[in-house]
């Protein structure tokens, strides 16, 4: 995963699979950012091949942590199997999802 900070927002780009092996690593990394005081995130999934239930759990857990801190987790670039998994698990209903990182950043800006 690659990350960069744009303005006050941490952008996290995921690659490959978010599953049994990588989901705990992702969640740990997000906890580190949050512990450093970061609370606005865009997680970009365009280069993700698939997300498993372990991946969904890591996203849900991170979002719940951020909600308590009045932070925000926006998602972008969901395609193919990733989008399908979000749709059938109804995770699409509970997250803010955008086509691109720039659209997500714009939406975060509008909400401030």
């Amino acid at each position: 995963m690659d990350t960069e900070k744009v303005g006050g927002v941490r952008i996290v780009r995921l690659q490959g699979r978010l599953g049994e092996v990588s989901a705990p690593q992702f969640e740990e990394r997000m906890k580190e950012f949050i512990a450093q005081g970061e609370n606005r995130f865009v997680v970009h999934m365009e280069e993700l091949e698939y997300i498993s239930s372990a991946g969904l759990r890591s996203i849900l857990s991170t979002a719940k942590d951020l909600k308590e801190l009045k932070g925000s987790l926006y998602l972008s670039g969901l395609t193919g199997a990733v989008k399908e998994v979000f749709d059938i698990s109804h995770f699409s209903d509970i997250f803010k999802i955008y086509g691109s990182v720039s659209e997500a950043l714009e939406a975060i800006g509008d909400n401030e």
């Binding site: 699979r17 969904l56 059938i88």
Partner: protein, 171 residues
């Protein structure tokens, strides 16, 4: 047309750090059988969920093996059999997850098995001696036909691939 594949087998320790070996094996086998990249992704996700469950729950407090056979079911359809010698567990007994619309109330239990049922055309379970055996059946090689995870056929019903080959042509 006969798409049957020569069975191949992989037997490895039930450990998450061996997942890549399992996925490489399954992807290669499905690729050789002519499945599209997207269908191979569907299958890899289903296998990851099944293997993840076995690694977490099948062998509490001890080590064990996973035995995977890539080949054809009795009806000639492409199938992956995943067996373990752990505690009896029928994954088909797990109910559909509850999809709470609110983030704070949302739970993630049961999602893995729900995803398995969605991604492949049929999921079967049998207890065979001291082993749990899961069979994942895949029909369409190009793309999955629209189907919900709730629509799995009952035991003794038509073969799941019949609906995908209405002319009765070979699978």
């Amino acid at each position: 047309m006969n798409d049957t594949v020569a069975p191949e087998r992989l037997k490895i320790p039930a450990a998450i750090d061996r997942l890549d070996t399992v996925l490489d094996f399954v992807r290669t086998c499905a690729g050789r059988a002519g499945f599209s990249p997207r269908r191979i992704t569907d299958l890899a996700l289903a296998v990851e969920e099944a293997v993840g469950n076995i690694c977490r729950y099948a062998y509490p407090g001890r080590s064990g093996k996973i035995d995977i056979v890539c080949g054809n079911d009795s009806g000639g359809a492409f199938s992956i059999e995943i067996a373990d010698g752990g505690v009896p567990f029928d994954l088909l007994s797990v109910g559909k997850p509850v999809f709470e619309a609110s983030l704070s109330r949302r739970k993630s239990g049961g999602l893995g098995i729900y995803l398995i049922r969605h991604m492949v055309d049929e999921v079967r379970y049998r207890r065979e001696g001291q082993r749990n055996v899961i069979t994942l059946v895949m029909c369409d090689r190009a793309e999955r036909k629209g189907r919900s995870p709730d629509s799995h056929s009952e035991p003794g019903g038509k073969h799941p691939c019949d609906a995908h080959n209405p002319s009765g042509a070979g699978l």
